[in-house]
Each structure stands twice: as C-alpha cells, then as structure tokens.
Amino acid sequence: MKRKDFITSLFAFIPLGTGFAGITFMGARFITPRKSEKLYRKIFAMNLDDIEVNESKPFFDLTGRELVLVRTGENDVRAISTTCTHLGCKVHWEADKNIFFCPCHNGVFSPEGAVIEGPPPRPLDTYRVQVEGKVVYLYSQIAES
C-alpha cells in the first residue's frame, strides 16, 4: 500500500471505527438496566413488647420482601432476611427443628442465620435495627421507582 493511500484510509477508518464503537457502546448501555443508588429509610417495625424474648414475628420491608424480627434479648432485636444467600429462594422457619430451611437446594440456617448445612455461601443477611425505648425501628431499602 502506498503511503498516501494508507493515510487516506486512516482518515476514513478512524472516525468510522470510532463511530461504530460509540454506537455499540450506546447499545450496550441501552440494554443494561440503570442502577439507581440504594436508598434506605428508617421505618417503625414494632413495639418491643409485641413479642417475648426469643420469639419472632414476620415483617415486610418497603420493597415488599418478607423478613423476621427476632427478640434476642430484653432490649435486643434482630431483623433477619429470609432470602436464602445461595440463589435467592425464601427460607421456611421450621419451629420443631429450630432451623430455617431453604427448599431450593436444602440449605439449613440456625435461628441467628448462620449456615449449618448445604450450599449457601454466607449467613442470612440482616437489616439494621434501632431500639429506642420501647420502639423498634428498621432501615429498609426503598422500592425502585
């Protein structure tokens, strides 16, 4: 190829190539859902005396996901997510065995959410909880708009 031809093609192909790359990039961005920042809101969960120590009760966060509130001490409450950390199924509380059981791939968690058996890679997630006097608050993610 002659030098002049080479330079001519350079002038043709660099802008064209950039253009195609740009369009490809924009297309890829289009099919990728936009991530909004996760926002949390402090919400009222229950009164401390709604349940006894070592008792639990189900609750729904603002995205509609179910979780359990467990009163672990006189003034301590834990909010444990019931979404399995393996592949996202909902765990069941089995009172007779005192475990959370995930029916999808037989994951077993302790009442505190620790993995006892099966494929889940980490303990059940927990929500941030605040106990102010007799009132229990929970930090819930806000549903995407």
């Binding site: 509609g64 179910e66 592949l87 999808c104 791939h105 889940p120």
Partner: protein, 348 residues
C-alpha cells in the same frame, strides 16, 4: 402470457437446481426407522413456531396478568388446552429428541472432521432450546416458574467475570418483575426464534454440503448401492413420522394436559420445588456442591461438549489404540442419568 410463463419471468427459478436439491441422495442407513428420528427436533421446532405464534394472540406479558391469561388460554379459549398442551409437550419431546440426536452423533463419532463446526452449531442450538424451555416456562408466572426465574437468574449472576452484569441484564433491575418478564418474553418469542432459525439453516446447509457420515451395518454388502433418493422414498418415511408425531402430540395434550400451579408469590417458596426435568441433573448438582462449583461444573461441561471434536482429537493422539471418546461418553451419559433419576426420586 400464461400464468406460468409470467411467474417464470418474474420469479426466475433454476429448474435443474431445484430438481437436484429435492433429489438429494440419502445414505442407506436412513432407511431404518430410528434414523428418521433425526428430523424430529426440526419438525418439533416448526410445531413450536406455529403453536407459539398462536399463544401470543392471548398471552399477556404482565406480572399481574400473565398467570390469568394462561388460565384463560387453558380454560376458556376454544381449543386453548390443545394449543397450550401441544406447545408444552412438543417442547419436552423436542429436547428429549435433541438429546438422543446428540448422543447418536457422539457415539457414531460423526462430529469428526470435516464436521467439527457443525457439531459446535448443534451444541449452540441445544443450549438455545434449553433457554427456550426456561424462558417459556417462566412466562406462565406460576410458583414454579417464578422460583425457576429467581434461581436461574441468580445462577447467571454467579458466572465468573460477567455474572453481575448478566444477572442485571436478565432481570432488567434489582428484582424479578415487569422488566424481567418483558425481557424473557422478548427472548422467547422474538430473539431466540430468529436466532435459532438462522442457526438451523446453517446446520442444515452444512449437513447437505458436507454430507452425512456413511454408516454401514452388519450384513450389508460392500457393493450395495450406498444411497437412495430423497424423493419420494425418504420423504415418505418422514411424512409417516410426522403424522405419527402429530397424532401423539394431540393425544398427549388431551390425556395429560399441562396443569397450572398456584400463581407466583415472591414471599413464599413452595416446599417442594422442582424445575423442568431437563434441568434436574444441574438442580441436583447445585444441591451437593457449593455455589462456585455448582455454577462452574455445568459450564465446564458445556465448554467440553462444545469443543468436543478437538478434545477427542487430542485423546486420539494421546492413546491411538484406545477408544477414549466412547468411554468418556458412557461415563458422562451414565452420570447425567444417575443425577436425573436421583432428582426424580428424591423428595428434597
């Protein structure tokens, strides 16, 4: 001008080429009935196209209406039970016949040169059909579909490197919802049909240009004619097969109509949860391994399957006298069968 001469002028066709195309010589072994099964998945695909397009007339891809629309198809639309039933049964039989087809290609070593590429196209087609089954099942939006969607997208999310992007891409957001259903619908009724039609065309083109592997059975004389004509001999066989399958599909849809479980509930995973049977082996594997191996295992299997013609050549060189491919095939098929049976029998 007569109609034929007008047609010939405005739509020129090479008569000779057409004659040659339709009188493709067919190797003798296709005279045996079970070899005519090769065309079953192709025929099933046509059935899926026709019944699938019909289902679109009534199906509503909205999380609040999908379930009811399928219920409506099953219970109120005239012959809805038939069209839905045939779509469901044909999907199952198509995947079963694809598996048989791949096994026969594997064990007759028909993937060897010059057919390596066509084997690879075949593996892609197989994966696409599994995705068809997965997305189609999800459209029903019953409990099992919902949780299959959940687990399936999370598995995609655990893929090394591209996982997080892939999960977002499939779900179209943080959680399973409208975006997910829309995307699954787009894949099931638009993207996958177009892509698979193109791939099937390439697959068939390569079969015809490269020819099928010539197989001989005991008792056949060397001097026997090797082939017989497509028209009318083989076409007749295929026609008989197609009729039998059609009848079978209608009977299956009538006797075992696909049932409809409880509608999707994002806060309650049913205690007894199973995917479609063709995902049983992977499902069982996920239960006995940790997350990383659970995901890497099936991927390694698919990569190996995809590059099998080259892996096979490597083993050929390493052990020229031993039939390694055969034994790997036997062990592989047995393992998958054991996992399938295990999952079928196990309650959990």
């Amino acid at each position: 001008m007569s109609l034929t001469s007008w047609l010939k002028k405005s739509f020129p066709v090479d008569d000779e080429a057409l004659a040659e195309m339709s009188s493709e010589p067919i190797p003798n072994h296709l005279k045996k009935w079970w070899w005519a099964l090769g065309g079953t998945p192709a025929y099933m695909f046509v059935v899926q196209l026709v019944t699938g397009f019909m289902l679109i007339f009534y199906y509503v891809p909205d999380p609040n209406q999908a379930y009811e629309s399928v219920q409506h198809i099953s219970e109120s639309v005239s012959f809805g039970w038939l069209i839905r039933g045939v779509h469901r049964w044909s999907a199952n039989i198509m995947i079963a016949s694809l598996i048989l087809h791949m096994m026969r290609v594997f064990f007759t070593k028909s993937y060897r040169a010059p057919r390596e590429l066509n084997w690879m196209f075949g593996v892609i087609l197989f994966v696409i059909m599994l995705v068809f089954g997965f997305t189609g099942y999800s459209l029903v939006y019953e409990q099992m579909s919902y949780w299959a969607m959940q687990v399936g997208t999370e598995i995609a999310g655990a893929t090394p490197l591209i996982g997080p992007w892939l999960a977002d891409f499939l779900k179209g957001g943080d959680m399973i919802g409208q975006n997910t259903l829309t995307r699954f619908y787009a894949f099931h009724v638009m993207i996958l049909p177009v892509v698979s039609m193109m791939l099937i065309a390439v697959h068939v083109y390569l079969i015809r240009t490269l020819g099928v592997t010539d197989l001989r059975f005991k008792g056949e004389e060397k001097k026997d004619k090797k082939t017989f004509p497509f028209w009318p001999d083989h076409a007749t066989t295929e026609f008989v097969m197609v009729s039998i399958i059609m009848l079978m599909l209608v009977i299956l849809a009538l006797v075992f109509p696909p049932h409809l479980g409880a509608p999707a509930d994002p806060n309650n995973t049913p205690l007894h949860i199973k995917p479609e049977w063709y995902f049983y082996p992977v499902f069982r594997w996920l239960k006995i391994t940790n997350l990383t191996w659970g995901v890497i295992g099936p991927m390694v299997f698919l990569v190996l399957l995809f590059f099998w013609p080259f892996v096979d050549r490597f083993f050929e060189k390493l052990f020229p006298k031993k039939d390694v491919a055969f034994w790997i095939g036997v062990i592989g098929a047995l393992t998958i069968t054991i996992f399938l049976v295990w999952e079928t029998l196990a309650a959990h």
